[in-house]
């Protein structure tokens, strides 16, 4: 079967989704491999590092993707845009339900000990960042994650969040400023001490 290719010469997400919607089991396998890590990464960051909850959200988001496949309207939205929006909504719902719960009960990111390898430094930095992102508003956390970790452009983020591009820029800027302030006192711990 001929399928539409994306800019990397791979079968596009949409073509795979349509194939799955027509009963192609292998298309589901390809989509799962391609999209589940992205969904999990985004959900984990949105949920402040709560891995178990992020896996539940990922499963639910992928299930919704399978269910929408037969009715997918081609050319209207990117599959990833749709999926990020679903994950975003699921995470927001869960965060609302958790309001009032001590989010610090979630695994504490940094232990303060100096990291001995670059990998450990990276892990410490990532944990510190995710920990600090818990204190952002949901919108700031979502915008910063999509822009600076998932690497999406502002127009696509605007579609995911269903807000204007200007609003995305504003949320991102305020979120970054808040992170920069929150993490400033941890420079040494983050490996910036000698710079």
């Amino acid at each position: 079967m001929d399928m539409a290719l994306d800019q990397n010469g791979e079968i596009s997400d949409e073509a795979l989704l349509v194939a799955y919607g027509n009963g192609d089991r292998e298309a589901a396998f390809a989509l799962t491999t391609r999209l589940t890590p992205r969904v999990l990464g985004f959900a984990t960051r949105m949920l402040g590092g709560d891995r178990a909850e992020a896996e539940d959200v990922s499963q639910e988001a992928m299930l919704r993707l399978w269910k929408v496949a037969p009715d997918w309207r081609q050319g209207e939205a990117k599959v990833t845009t749709w999926l990020y929006r679903v994950v975003s909504n699921l995470c927001t719902d869960r965060l609302r339900k958790k309001r009032g719960v001590d989010i610090d009960a979630i695994e504490e990111p940094a232990d303060g000990r100096p990291a001995v390898t670059s990998r450990l430094i990276a892990e410490d930095r990532a944990r510190a960042l995710i920990g600090a992102m818990r204190d952002l508003s949901d919108g700031q956390r979502q915008a910063v994650t999509l822009r600076h970790i998932e690497g999406l452009g502002n127009p696509e983020i605007a579609k995911i969040m269903q807000i204007s591009t200007e609003a995305v820029e504003s949320l991102t800027a305020r979120g970054k400023r808040a992170l920069a302030k929150a993490l400033a006192h941890r420079r040494e711990e983050l490996g910036y001490g000698d710079e």
Binding site: P37, M62, W66, I121, A128
Partner: protein
């Protein structure tokens, strides 16, 4: 290099954190892979099935008509039946009429005929019947 503001990370420092987050993205557990695959399998659409047609209930008469080839053949059957009835009720006439004369040009309309007249191989058959 930009001067550090002690109260804020600079752009490079912040970017390094984002890069670290990208590099240490969580990978799905085996359990999550399994759950997602199971979901895909459970929701796998089947190819659009053709609309199921309900079997048509066929009555005995309709079945019989269909068995002999439908209404056209029934018309032929009715014609044959009527012809048989007509033949059955008609008075038999002696085969001395003009139609037999046409078959046996050698006979006049008032002459009788024997079976041998039609088939010479039956010569003597009529006499045998008469004798019993």
């Amino acid at each position: 290099m930009a001067m550090n503001n002690i109260d804020m990370l600079n752009e490079n420092e912040l970017e390094a954190l984002f890069e670290a987050a990208r590099d240490t993205a969580p990978m799905p557990s085996q359990a999550l892979w399994d759950r997602v695959h199971a979901g895909a399998e459970a929701a796998l659409p089947t190819p659009h099935s053709f609309a199921r047609t309900q079997p048509v209930r066929v009555g005995l008469l309709a079945g019989l008509i269909a068995a002999i080839g439908g209404w056209p053949s029934l018309a032929g059957l009715a014609t044959a039946t009527l012809a048989g009835v007509w033949i059955g009720f008609s008075n038999p006439e002696a085969l001395t009429d003009s139609s037999v004369a046409l078959l046996l040009p050698g006979l006049s309309q008032t002459e009788t005929y024997e079976l041998e007249d039609f088939d010479p191989g039956l010569n003597g058959f009529s006499a045998m019947l008469e004798e019993g």
